[in-house]
């Protein structure tokens, strides 16, 4: 752990720290740590407060996007990043996410997609796949492909991509392009397919297999709009 990081509050094996540490690395390489503001949705995302050495604040569940819209419009110098889970992005916060993409708000949204509600104990998410075991039983509803929906309303110049924590090299490039997109004045979203061993009830390599076998076939990685 770098000395300027606070101890992580995430579960062991969680996907969040991989994305967050990489985000910090990218910002460092771009010389933008001093301009970054990371707004946090509620759910496991909230645990990212005071984890990385740049500005963070909590919002409400599903509301980080409109908060960052307000922030960015009032501080154009900032690199305004909304950090949220798949529930915050594609269920309770979808309306604001879609309209922000439609208006081409120059904010960056990072969505951690683990197809489950982790913080609340394993309930089904809008991203849960068919036949997924959740705390509420077997999911029968098809998953929402949020990044594709966002890309369908995003404007020319916007950037929408989906990466996976099993390939952080590609993820790093996506995060960099998303930040460059904001600098160019456009909306960007990076969805990260991520581990949740606690809610998946997996251990060790089972966690990696769960992601590769269940999630990646449904959620195709790559650039969706660039």
């Amino acid at each position: 752990m770098p000395k300027d990081f606070q101890p992580a509050k995430f579960c062991l094996g969680c996907g969040h720290p991989l994305v967050l540490i990489t985000l910090h690395k990218v910002l460092q390489e771009m010389g933008l740590v001093g301009k970054a503001v990371l707004g946090l949705d509620i759910g496991c995302s909230l645990l990212a407060i005071n984890y990385l050495p740049f500005n963070t604040f909590h919002t409400h569940h599903g509301r980080v996007t409109p908060t960052m819209v307000g922030f960015k419009r009032s501080n154009k110098e900032s690199i305004s990043i909304g950090y949220t889970g798949d529930g915050g992005a594609y269920a309770i916060g979808l309306q604001s996410l879609l309209h922000s993409a439609l208006r081409d708000e120059p904010i960056m949204v990072i969505v951690i997609n683990n197809a489950v509600y982790g913080m609340t104990g394993g309930q089904k998410a809008p991203t849960s796949f068919i036949a997924q075991k959740t705390d509420e039983g077997i999911n029968e509803q098809p998953p929402m492909l949020g990044a594709e929906i966002v890309a369908s309303v995003a404007q020319s110049g916007a950037y929408v991509a989906r990466g996976t924590v099993t390939d952080m090299g590609v993820m790093k490039e996506m995060l960099k392009k998303a930040i460059e997109t904001q600098q160019a004045g456009h909306f960007s979203l990076v969805e990260a397919m991520a581990f949740c061993p606690t809610a998946w009830k997996t251990v060790g390599t089972e966690t990696v297999s769960y992601l590769k076998n269940n999630l990646l076939p449904v959620f195709k990685t790559g650039e969706i709009k660039s």
Binding site: V33, N50, N55, F57, T59, R63, G70, R73, Q95
Partner: protein, 344 residues
């Protein structure tokens, strides 16, 4: 004219008064969603942004987004506000709760319309509860209610100034009678200005929490907020007493009804009737209320709701004074009705 150089006269709607007051005091951004009878505030502000490029305007996807966008804007240090009504006042509570918890100086104009639900579209006094206690909060919000256009101008400015000074969200209560009708406003030629600053400074490595791990952490934070709110109360409380010397009956009314009641009291000068009109509904002018209550035989609360003001009065009343009421939920109240009520 004696004050020729200090004032200019303008013929404005209440919505125009609010927009002018907000601009004069230093508000810079409006985020909101159209709803009657608050829409004109959004429209007038959007027109103002065309003349002054320093001002910003966004029609959001809903009032929830508006509530959070104003939070984001003030976090960045730019004074922002919204205006809404009825069901929109319900939706904006999400953001107002965050503002109350994180001490964000947002201002929301609430143009009360009839309820419950979509109700009627122009007038009521039924959003007092929402203004003060609408969130999952403890009601630490500054709430103003105005009886005249001039007061609406002043209260709008005070809402911005005090929100930023004391770091609590502020609400300017109005209604469609006020926002849509035109009247003469004497506008001061120089305006007071709010003092804003970024709450999140770029590069400062700040971390602002809104959720806590331990009950004790939240408890300690709230103790401080309550202390700050009570301290603010001493400085910001506003009310009007009219014809209260020697009064036996004390009418208590606020906002539009407060103005109507004053006119009624003017016509009842020989009847020993006085008026107590709270201008800040929260914090409530408790000391002034009790001082008057001790001297009168009876209080009559008059309002266009089913007792939202009356509950505030009763909660703040330490004296054993009899409290009567005249409640007309969602219905306008006229001068003659009050005269009849007193003289019957």
């Amino acid at each position: 004219m004696a004050h020729k150089n200090k004032f200019s006269r303008a013929f404005l709607t209440g919505a125009e008064v609010i927009v002018k007051a907000a601009q004069d005091v230093g508000a810079e951004y409006f985020f909101g969603y159209p709803i009657t009878p608050a829409s004109e505030i959004a429209v007038d502000w959007s027109q103002a942004t065309k003349k002054n490029k320093q001002l910003g305007f966004l029609q959001t996807e809903d009032e929830i987004a508006a509530g959070f966008a104003i939070n984001g804007s003030v976090l960045a240090g730019r004074p922002a506000f919204s205006a809404t009504a009825g069901p929109g006042t319900v939706l904006i509570q999400d953001g107002l709760s965050m503002a109350e918890a994180m001490r964000l100086p947002v201002v929301v104009v609430v143009a009360q319309r009839g309820g419950p639900s979509s109700g009627t579209v122009i007038y009521s006094q039924q959003e007092v509860n929402l203004a003060i206690y609408g969130g999952n909060t403890e009601g630490m919000r500054l709430v103003y209610s105005s009886s005249t256009l001039e007061e609406l101008y002043q209260n709008t400015q005070k809402a911005f100034i005090n929100a930023w000074k004391y770091r609590f969200p502020a609400i300017v209560l109005t209604d469609g009678y006020q926002s849509k009708t035109r009247g003469v406003l004497e506008v001061p030629s120089t305006s007071k200005k709010l003092k804003s600053q970024p709450l999140v400074v770029l590069g400062a490595n700040q971390h602002l929490p809104n959720i806590f791990t331990f009950e004790e952490e939240l408890f300690v934070k709230l103790q401080k907020d309550v202390k700050d709110f009570n301290k603010m109360a001493e400085a910001v409380i506003g009310y009007e007493e009219f014809n209260t010397r020697g009064a036996e009956i004390l009418i208590i009314a606020h906002g539009t009804v407060g103005g109507v009641a004053k006119e009624a009291v003017q016509k009842l000068l020989k009847k020993k009737v006085g008026l107590f009109r709270p201008i800040t509904l929260n914090p409530f002018p408790k000391t002034a209320l009790n001082k008057l209550a001790k001297k009168v035989k009876k209080i009559i609360v008059i309002e266009s709701s089913l007792g939202q003001l009356e509950r505030l009065v009763r909660a703040n009343l330490d004296e054993n004074t009899k409290v009567d009421h005249y409640l007309r939920p969602g219905l306008g109240i006229e001068v003659d009705e009050i005269i009849k009520l007193i003289t019957k």
